[in-house]
């Protein structure tokens, strides 16, 4: 177990080394100046702009930016829905998978378009290679790029003065896909292949095991999907059991690299912000706030899972580490990963709105499960998904300067721009949407016999299963508790609504804030200005994030996993 704390330290050290330069590279990509790889990428971009009729020199107001995003997402969802429905007659279907049921296809199409990747389908057992490698992977790239584009629009809103435009959605989408996500994913996929992750077009191969039994070994384009599912905070695994499957996550090295890939781009985002606004200390302040939240959660989860299941101690069951057992709470976990690496992954995947799993969260201890839920219910800001995590934290920054302004009787400012009623109203819309979705749909679900029948456990833990099954889609996380059989009409529809509203009803106020801020002229800082890059501000920001989430969700958590812990 001690070695897992070393792994946590290595992950943090890697973040500190890689995230700042990666964030600055992303800032260059969002600019119009020369960038690394221009000779390779510029001709490709010009070709795409010519084919699609995009004028890269034309910038958009926030409303046009939002309508572009909505139009692109609608076409994406309908296109993916068509692929899933028609996969039975499309090529690359060696397993003979039939077309997906309409409601399930809708759930999957919405899930991948919104960067959620909630999986109500059975992975390789439900989908063809074409559906996975073309349908899902395409959305993995562009939905992640769309999140980064929204981030760029908001940062431009903060950075620019007396402007009316926040960038060009199509240019941001193209550049993020081609210059960031594709190259990183290509390299990562090749590394995964060296570790034994499958990458072929085979179906199930029938083999005879040493003891004479028959076994079916699945194949498919797995490595190419794993790369972007980790880097783009998507999370949808090729296999139904995601990264707990030995052909999707075969070695300790693969597990460590996939764990790192969860957090690199989200933690690079604050540095993109610092670079684009011309104040690197601002980026560091947000980075530390994100990292502190993540570390608090991760230490609790790793400690809880490493300590073992308290109920089993009462039965005299030995949960200590030994040569033959990793120790701790091993229910629902891979022996090769052990409780530490499983808990580390669980915390990082729920904090980054990724959603891939290497263990079954339903089998975690109550404390470990509370961490996974809390990471999502904080609003996915520690550090959250690619792009959308940073903008979520910036909304909390706006609320924090507003509250600080109320305390001292000043009009609040963000980098010299006055935060006024419009920004606060829009931030309030942003903050209220997710809790309304989570608590509203959970409240309805516990009243419906069909929804209650989807649970694997009764009582408090059953409520936790339903809460997780709603919180994950509503926060565009996508990880599963693995205790809720949610491929039902109610959950397929309600989760699709939660994913759509949880994505676009949050992005639209953000773009509106960008449009409002971009028109403002910053005022000069005075002695009365509240610095937003100090340790005091980081502390205040953390307080706002924790108190808001705590006041909102403590009651339902008390009835669910907290009650289970106290049982």
């Amino acid at each position: 177990m001690a070695s897992q704390w070393v792994v946590l330290g290595a992950v943090i050290a890697t973040i500190l080394i890689v995230a700042p330069p990666l964030g600055r590279y992303m800032a260059v990509l969002f600019g119009s100046g020369p960038a690394f790889g221009d000779r390779l990428f510029s001709p490709l971009e010009r070709f795409i702009y010519r084919v699609t009729g995009v004028d890269p020199e034309h910038e958009q107001r926030w409303t046009a930016y939002a309508f572009s995003l909505l139009a692109f997402s609608l076409i994406s969802a309908l296109g993916l829905y068509a692929v899933l429905r028609l996969q039975g007659v499309l090529p690359f279907n060696p397993t003979g998978a039939p077309g997906v049921d309409p409601l399930l296809a809708m759930n999957v199409a919405v899930s991948f378009t919104t960067n959620t990747n909630w999986q109500n389908y059975g992975g390789e057992a439900t989908l063809s290679h074409f559906s996975q490698a073309v349908g899902l992977v395409t959305q993995n790239f562009v939905s992640a790029a769309a999140g980064l584009a929204v981030m760029a629009a908001l940062i431009r809103g903060v950075a620019r003065r007396r402007s009316i435009t926040v960038g060009n959605f199509w240019v941001d989408l193209t550049r993020m896909t081609i210059r960031l996500l594709l190259p990183l994913s290509l390299i990562f996929a090749l590394v995964m292949v060296t570790q034994g992750v499958v990458q072929n077009l085979s179906g199930f191969q029938e083999v005879v095991t040493l003891d004479g039994a028959t076994q079916f070994i699945p194949g498919g384009p797995v490595a190419s999907q794993v790369a972007i599912k980790q880097l783009g905070t998507n999370g949808g695994g090729f296999f139904n059991t995601n990264s707990s499957h030995p052909l999707e996550n075969p070695t300790g090295v693969a597990n460590l690299l996939q764990t790192l890939a969860l957090v690199l781009i989200p933690f690079a985002a604050p540095f993109t912000y610092g670079e684009m606004v011309g104040r690197r200390r601002q980026g560091w302040a947000i980075f530390w706030a994100m990292l502190i939240l993540l570390l608090l959660a991760t230490v609790v989860a790793m400690g809880a899972e490493g300590s073992g299941n308290q109920a089993l101690f009462g039965l005299g069951i030995d949960q200590a580490a030994s040569e033959s057992a990793p120790g701790g709470n091993m229910e629902g976990k891979e022996v090769r990963h052990g409780p530490g690496a499983s808990a580390l992954w669980a915390s990082l995947t729920t904090a980054t709105s990724n959603g891939s799993v290497n263990a079954m969260h339903d089998s975690f201890t109550p404390a470990g499960a509370i961490v996974t839920l809390a990471n999502m219910l904080l609003g996915e800001v520690s550090p959250g998904g690619v792009g959308v995590g940073l903008v979520g934290m910036l909304v909390f920054v706006i609320l924090t300067v507003f509250i600080a302004g109320l305390m001292v009787g000043r009009t609040p400012e963000l980098l010299g721009k006055k935060v006024q009623s419009a920004e606060v109203k829009l931030a309030t819309l942003y903050i209220l949407t997710m809790p309304a979705l989570v608590l509203g749909i959970t409240g309805v679900a516990v009243l419906l016999p069909d929804a209650l029948a989807a649970r694997s456990n009764p009582g408090a833990w059953g409520l936790a299963e339903i809460l997780y099954g709603v919180a994950s889609p509503a926060n565009n996380n996508g990880s599963a508790f693995a205790g809720l059989s949610s491929n039902t009409p109610f959950f397929n529809v309600s989760q699709a609504m939660a994913m759509l509203a949880g994505r676009f009803f949050l992005i639209i106020p953000i773009l509106a804030i960008a449009g409002s801020l971009v028109a403002k002229e910053p005022v000069a800082a005075t002695e009365g200005s509240f610095p937003t890059d100090s340790p005091l501000f980081v502390g205040l920001l953390l307080g706002v994030v924790l108190i808001l989430a705590g006041l909102t969700f403590f009651p339902v958590l008390s009835l669910g996993p907290v009650a289970e812990a106290l049982r």
Binding site: W62, T63, A66, F67, L70, A71, S73, L74, A77, L78, Y81, R85, P102, L103, A105, M106, A109, V110, G409, R410, T411, K418, Q420, S421, A422, K425, L426, L429, M497, L500, A501, F504, F505, I508, P509, L511, A512, G515, S516, K520, E521, V523, T526, G528, S529
Partner: protein, 42 residues
């Protein structure tokens, strides 16, 4: 069922487009607010 699903998805995005308009009103209403608000001691 396909038609119902497609109409449902299109309807959501139509509502989202309306949400853009709502947020635009919120932004637009602020244009009349002075940069120096009453009670600002800064």
């Amino acid at each position: 069922m396909d038609v119902i699903v497609i109409v449902g998805m299109v309807s959501f995005f139509a509502v989202a487009a309306g949400y853009v308009k709502l947020c635009e009103k919120i932004v637009g209403n602020q244009s009349s607010v002075s940069p120096s608000e009453p009670g600002d001691r800064g």
